[in-house]
C-alpha cells in the first residue's frame, strides 16, 4: 500500500511532478512576466502610501474599503503581488534546475557521434575534393580552427576521419547565469523588503502609530529594537540636537526604529550657485557610539552618504529647525496700540491682543532664500532671490485660521518698492499678495501714518470742509444745507473706505442711490472719494504739505490707496515685519539598513554577464568529415549555430574560404 502511494507521489505523472513541469513551462513564464508588468502599473498610477484620509476623500467610503482590502495603497507589498513575484522566481528556478544539467553537458560535448548523412543535409554544408590525404588535412584543419578559437577533436569513424569543433560553448553558461541571477536578485530584494514587519504586524506583535506624538509618548508596541533586520526610515534633526531613533513610514502611520548609536547634527548648510539656486546640501554629523573611542565626525551630502556599521545615512531633505525671529507687529489701526517688537521662534505660538480682540499667533516657517522666477524678465526661467521670508498662522478668537507669508525686504515692482505679504485661508489655495508701499526710508511708517490720518476725524472733517468750499465756490450764493450735506457725505465715504475698501463704497452707492441716478452719480462719488484721499495725503503731517506734482508722491498715494482698499481681504489687524533672525535649520536624514544589498548587486553582475554572453557569444559548431578516395580526400564541411543565423551565413563562408583555398568544387 505504502509502496503504491510512494509511486504515486513521485511517479512520472504524479501531481507534484506535473506541478513542477507546469511551473517550468515557457507559457507560464511569459504569462507571469506580462502579469507582473501589468500589476506594477497600478502602483504608479495610484500614488502609494499616502495618508489614508486622502484616499478616503478621493474614493469615498465604499471604494476606499474595497481598495484597501486588496492592498492598492501599498501594492508592492500586497500579498497577491508578492505571490506573482514568488511564482516567477519559482518558475525561473525550476526552469534553470531542469535545463542546467543538459546545458552543462552540451557545453563540453563536441558531438562526435554525428552521422555523415545528417551533416550532408545541414543548412550549412559544403563538399569538395582535396589532393591531400585525410590525416594531413585533418591535422591542418584542426590547426586552423584552433586559431579561430575552436576546440576540436579528431575521431576515427570506421575508417573515415571526423574533426568536430565548437566555439562559444560558454553561451549555455549565459543562460544559466541570467536565470540564476533573477532568483538571486529576488531573494536579496526579499531580505530588504518590509515583509518581516508585515508578518509581525499580522501576528499582532507591533502596531503602527498614526498619531503625531512626542517621541517619549510613543507606545512600546510601535517601537522596534536594534537588530539585524532591514529597514528604511527618516528623521529630522535640528542643528545642535541629536537622535537615537529613526521613523519608518508604514501605510498611514509610522514605527520607531532604535539605532545602536546617536547621531548629532552640528551644522546644516546649503551652498548656492551665483544665481541663488542650491548647489549642494551638506550636514556635519557626529556619531556617538559607546564602541568608539571618540565620536566620529563626518560630513554627508546628497550623493555622498555615510555608511557606518552597515547603516547608511543619507542627506535627504531639510527644514527649519526653530529659527529665532525678531518681528515687529504694526497694527493697521493706530488706536489698537503702538508697534511692538516680538522675540519669537519658528514653531512657537503665543496669545496676542490687538484692540479688544484676542488672537493666537503661530510661527510656522522661516526661509533664508526665496528663489522665484523673475517677473521683470521675459524669460520664465530666469530666477531671482527675494531674500528671507517667514510664515505664520493667525487664529482669531472664533478659531478661524489664516496663513501668511511675509518677506523681510521690500521687493521691486515696476520701479517701486513694496513689502509683500501672502495670505490664504487654506493650504490648498495659492497665496494672494498684499503690496504695502515702502517709503523713502524703506519702512512702512509713511503708509501707517497715512492710514492713521484717514482715521483722524478732525483732519478728515477739515479737509472735507475745504473741499466742499472749493466745490461750491461757483454757486451764486452760499447754500448752508447743501454744504453741510456734501461735507457729511465726504466724511462718510472716507470712513467707509477705511473700513471696507472700495467694495463697501460701491455697495453703499448701490443701496442709497435711486436707480436712475446711479449711472451718473456713482462715478462722481468715487471721484470725490479719490479727491478726498489725495487731499488728505498731500496735507501731510503737522502741516508739512507734500508736493502734489512729485511723481514719487503720486505713485505712493496710488499704491497706498490700492493697499488700503485690499486690507479688508487681508483679515489681519496687524502687519508683521521681520527685523532680525538667527537661522537654525534641521536636516532630514534617511537611514537604511539593507543586508540583502550585496546579494542583489552580486545577482545584478551575474545578470549582465549572463546577458552579454547569451547575446554576443553564440555557440558555433563545425564538423569536417574526411573520406579517403584514392590517395586524395573527399571533404564534407558542415556547421550550425544556436543564434544569429544571419551572422553565421557569413562566418561559414569565411571558414570555407579558409579551409578550401584551391577552390576545388565537387
Amino acid at each position: 500500500m505504502s509502496e503504491k502511494s510512494n509511486l504515486k507521489l513521485f511517479g512520472k505523472n504524479s501531481f507534484p511532478r506535473r506541478l513542477l513541469r507546469f511551473l517550468g513551462t515557457m507559457e507560464l513564464a511569459i504569462t507571469l512576466l506580462i502579469t507582473l508588468a501589468i500589476a506594477s502599473v497600478i502602483g504608479t498610477v495610484l500614488q502609494q502610501n499616502q495618508p489614508y484620509t486622502d484616499y478616503l476623500i478621493k474614493f469615498g467610503p465604499f471604494w476606499f474599503e474595497v481598495f484597501e482590502s486588496v492592498g492598492l495603497y501599498d501594492v508592492y507589498s500586497a500579498p497577491w503581488f508578492l505571490l506573482i513575484l514568488t511564482l516567477l522566481v519559482v518558475s525561473t528556478a525550476v526552469c534553470v534546475t531542469r535545463h542546467t544539467p543538459s546545458m552543462l553537458k552540451d557545453m563540453r560535448n563536441l558531438r562526435t557521434q554525428v552521422q555523415r548523412k545528417s551533416l550532408a543535409t545541414m543548412k550549412h554544408s559544403e563538399q569538395w575534393i582535396s589532393r591531400d590525404a585525410p590525416d594531413t588535412l585533418a591535422a591542418s584543419f584542426q590547426q586552423q580552427l584552433k586559431l579561430k578559437g575552436f576546440r576540436t577533436r579528431l575521431t576515427d569513424r570506421n575508417g573515415a576521419l571526423l574533426v568536430s569543433a565548437m566555439r562559444g560553448g560558454i553561451n549555455r553558461l549565459g543562460y544559466i547565469l541570467t536565470h540564476v541571477a533573477i532568483v538571486v536578485i529576488c531573494v536579496g530584494g526579499l531580505m530588504d523588503g518590509n515583509l518581516p514587519l508585515k508578518m509581525a504586524e499580522w501576528r499582532g506583535q507591533i502596531q503602527i502609530e498614526t498619531r503625531d506624538l512626542p517621541l517619549s509618548q510613543i507606545p512600546q508596541e510601535s517601537r522596534l529594537a536594534i537588530g539585524k533586520q532591514a529597514f528604511r526610515g527618516s528623521v529630522s534633526i535640528p542643528e545642535g540636537r541629536s537622535s537615537e531613533v529613526v521613523f519608518l513610514p508604514m501605510r498611514d502611520g509610522y514605527l520607531v526604529q532604535a539605532l545602536p548609536f546617536r547621531i548629532e547634527l552640528e551644522e546644516f548648510r546649503v551652498e548656492h550657485h551665483d544665481n541663488g539656486q542650491p548647489r549642494s546640501f551638506e550636514s556635519d554629523l557626529v556619531i556617538h557610539d559607546p564602541e568608539l573611542e571618540e565620536p566620529l565626525r563626518h560630513t554627508i551630502a546628497v550623493n555622498h552618504p555615510l555608511i557606518y556599521k552597515g547603516y547608511a545615512i543619507y542627506q535627504a531633505s531639510f527644514a527649519d529647525g526653530g529659527s529665532a525671529l525678531q518681528v515687529e507687529a504694526w497694527p493697521f489701526d493706530h488706536r489698537a496700540g503702538d508697534p511692538v517688537m516680538l522675540d519669537t521662534k519658528v514653531f512657537d505660538s503665543r496669545d496676542m491682543h490687538w484692540g479688544d480682540r484676542q488672537y493666537r499667533l503661530e510661527m510656522t516657517n522661516f526661509r533664508l532664500f526665496n528663489i522665484n522666477p523673475d517677473p521683470t524678465d521675459d524669460n520664465p526661467r530666469r530666477m531671482t532671490n527675494s531674500g528671507p521670508s517667514f510664515g505664520f498662522i493667525l487664529r482669531s478668537h472664533t478659531g478661524e485660521a489664516t496663513e501668511y507669508e511675509n518677506y523681510m525686504f521690500p521687493i521691486e515692482r515696476e520701479g517701486r518698492m513694496f513689502y509683500l505679504s501672502g495670505v490664504r485661508s487654506s493650504p490648498s489655495e495659492n497665496f494672494s499678495y498684499l503690496h504695502l508701499p515702502a517709503d523713502a526710508h524703506g519702512g512702512v511708517d509713511s503708509f501707517m501714518e497715512y492710514l492713521a490720518r484717514l482715521r483722524d476725524r478732525n483732519l478728515v472733517a477739515d479737509i472735507a470742509q475745504l473741499m466742499t468750499r472749493d466745490a461750491l465756490a461757483d454757486l451764486p450764493e452760499p447754500d448752508a444745507n447743501l454744504e453741510e450735506s456734501l461735507q457729511q457725505t465726504l466724511i462718510t465715504l472716507v470712513g467707509m473706505f477705511v473700513r471696507g475698501g472700495f467694495d463697501e463704497v460701491r455697495e453703499f452707492v448701490e443701496i442709497s442711490l435711486p436707480e436712475i441716478e446711479r449711472q451718473t452719480l456713482a462715478p462722481a462719488y468715487l471721484g470725490m472719494l479719490r479727491e478726498m484721499l489725495a487731499r488728505i495725503y498731500f496735507a501731510g503731517v503737522d502741516g508739512h504739505e507734500l508736493d502734489n506734482t512729485d511723481n514719487q508722491n503720486i505713485f505712493f498715494l496710488q499704491d497706498a490707496v490700492d493697499a488700503i482698499g485690499s486690507l479688508p481681504r487681508y483679515h489681519s489687524p496687524v502687519f508683521l515685519m521681520l527685523h532680525d533672525y538667527e537661522h537654525i535649520q534641521a536636516s532630514g536624514l534617511q537611514i537604511a539598513r539593507a543586508p540583502g544589498q550585496f546579494i542583489v548587486y552580486f545577482g545584478s553582475v551575474m545578470l549582465v554577464a549572463g546577458l552579454f554572453i547569451l547575446f554576443y557569444l553564440p555557440q558555433r559548431r563545425l564538423w569536417i568529415w574526411l573520406d579517403e578516395e584514392g590517395g586524395a580526400s573527399r571533404v564534407l564541411l558542415a556547421g550550425m549555430t544556436n543564434r544569429n543565423p544571419r551572422d553565421f551565413d557569413g562566418f561559414f563562408d569565411e571558414i570555407q574560404q579558409l579551409l578550401k583555398p584551391d577552390k576545388q568544387e565537387l
Binding site: D274, R381, A594, V600
Partner: protein
C-alpha cells in the same frame, strides 16, 4: 551577406589604420588626464578609460566611426579655441554664431536629420541607390553636428561659472539630442553591417519626431538654456547611467521602426509580391532578424542602465529599489521585452505578431521616457516639461 563580412574583414585587417586610431585615442586619453587630471576623481578616470576602450573597439569593428569621432573632436576643439573661455563669443564669432556654438550645431543637426529623412524616402521611392547613399551621408553629418553640439554645450556649461559645469545628459532637452545621436549611430552601424539602406527613412522618421519635439521645446519653453544641476544629479553615476539608458531606448526605437517597415512590406507583398517597394526593402526574414537583434541589444543595455540606476539610487536616495514610478516603469518595459525575447527565441514566434509587439513596446518606452515625467510624480521629476 557574405559580401558584408568580407568587407568588414578587410576593414578590420587594415591594421595601419587601426593602429593609428588606437594611438590617437591613447594620446587623447593621456592629454585629458594631464590637462584635467586634477579635477577628475577615481570614478571619472575609470569612466574615461571605459570610454577609451569602447571607442577603441568600436573604431576597430566599424571604421566610419573613426572618421565621425575625429570630425567631432576637431570641430569641438575648434569651437573651444574660438570661444577662448568667453561665452559672449557665441554671438560675436562667425564660426560659433553660425555653426559651432552648441545651439547652432544642434540646429544644423535638426536640419540634416530632416533632410536625411526626406532623402532616404526619396531614394526608396525612386529606387536610387545613390540618393539613399546621400541620405546616409546626411545622417552622418547630422549625427556629427549633434555630437559636436553636446561636446560644446559641455564646455559652455563650464564657462557659465566655475561650479556650474556638467555633462549635458541631465535634462529632457539634452537627452533628446542624445537620443537622436545614439539612435542614428546604432542604425548607421546596422546599415553598414547588413548592407541595407531601405530602413533608413523609417529610422530617421523616428528621429525627426524627436527633432520636432526638441525644436518645440527649445523655442516654446526656452529649454535650451543651461542651468545649474540640482544636487541630486551631481554624480559620476549620471555619466554612465544616462548614455547606457539611451543606447537601450535607441535600440528599442529602431526595433519599433523595423516593426513598422515589416508590417508595410508584408502587407504589400501579400497583394503584390513583385512591387517596387517590396523589392527595394530588405527581405522580411532580414527585417525579422534585425528586429530581434535590436531588441536584444536594447535589452542588454537597458538592463545595465537599470542596474546602474539602482546603484545610483542606493547612493542618492538611500535605497536601490523604492518602486518610484520611473523605476517601476523601467521594470515594466524590461519585463515586456523579456517576454518578447522568450516568445521569439524559445517559442520561435516571428513575423507580424512580433512586429506589432515591438510597436506596442515603443509606447511603453515612450511612457517610461516621457510619460512618467509628465503625468506621474516621483523622485525622477527633473525632466518635467
Amino acid at each position: 551577406m557574405s559580401e558584408t563580412i568580407r568587407q568588414n574583414q578587410t576593414d578590420s585587417q587594415s591594421w595601419l589604420a587601426v593602429g593609428a586610431w588606437w594611438t590617437l585615442l591613447l594620446l587623447a586619453t593621456v592629454f585629458i588626464l594631464v590637462a584635467y587630471g586634477d579635477h577628475l576623481d577615481v570614478y571619472e578616470v575609470t569612466i574615461l578609460f571605459l570610454t577609451g576602450f569602447s571607442m577603441a573597439w568600436l573604431g576597430k569593428v566599424w571604421p566610419p566611426f573613426r572618421w565621425h569621432a575625429l570630425a567631432v573632436a576637431i570641430l569641438s576643439l575648434l569651437a573651444l579655441q574660438r570661444y577662448g573661455g568667453d561665452l559672449s563669443m557665441a554671438q560675436q564669432d562667425f564660426w560659433l554664431n553660425y555653426i559651432l556654438a552648441s545651439q547652432s550645431a544642434i540646429m544644423w543637426m535638426s536640419a540634416f536629420y530632416l533632410a536625411s529623412t526626406v532623402i532616404y524616402f526619396g531614394g526608396l521611392i525612386a529606387r536610387s541607390d545613390y540618393t539613399q547613399k546621400l541620405g546616409s551621408r546626411f545622417a552622418w553629418i547630422a549625427t556629427t553636428m549633434g555630437m559636436v553640439g553636446l561636446m560644446v554645450r559641455w564646455r559652455e556649461s563650464h564657462m557659465m561659472g566655475s561650479d556650474i559645469g556638467y555633462i549635458p545628459v541631465s535634462n529632457l532637452y539634452e537627452v533628446f539630442i542624445l537620443f537622436c545621436v545614439i539612435t542614428s549611430l546604432i542604425y548607421l552601424f546596422y546599415e553598414r553591417r547588413y548592407r541595407t539602406r531601405g530602413l533608413g527613412g523609417f529610422v530617421m522618421l523616428m528621429i525627426t519626431a524627436a527633432v520636432m519635439f526638441l525644436l518645440w521645446y527649445a523655442f516654446e519653453r526656452n529649454a535650451h538654456e543651461i542651468e545649474p544641476l540640482v544636487p541630486a544629479l551631481q554624480s559620476y553615476w549620471m555619466k554612465i547611467h544616462v548614455p547606457t539608458n539611451f543606447i537601450g531606448y535607441g535600440a528599442f526605437a529602431i526595433a519599433t521602426m523595423i516593426g513598422v517597415a515589416y508590417l508595410l512590406v508584408s502587407w504589400r507583398a501579400e497583394k503584390k509580391p513583385d512591387s517596387d517597394f517590396v523589392k527595394a526593402m530588405p527581405s522580411l526574414a532580414a527585417m525579422d532578424d534585425l528586429m530581434h537583434k535590436s531588441i536584444a541589444l536594447g535589452f542588454a543595455f537597458f538592463t545595465v542602465a537599470t542596474i546602474l540606476g539602482a546603484f545610483w539610487a542606493a547612493e542618492a536616495w538611500g535605497g536601490y529599489w523604492t518602486w518610484d514610478p520611473k523605476e517601476t516603469w523601467s521594470l515594466i518595459l524590461w519585463l515586456n521585452y523579456a517576454a518578447w525575447l522568450h516568445m521569439r527565441f524559445t517559442k520561435g514566434w516571428h513575423g507580424r505578431p512580433m512586429a506589432w509587439w515591438a510597436i506596442v513596446g515603443f509606447f511603453i518606452m515612450l511612457f517610461t521616457f516621457l510619460g512618467v515625467n509628465i503625468f506621474l510624480s516621483g523622485l525622477h521629476s527633473y525632466g518635467g516639461l
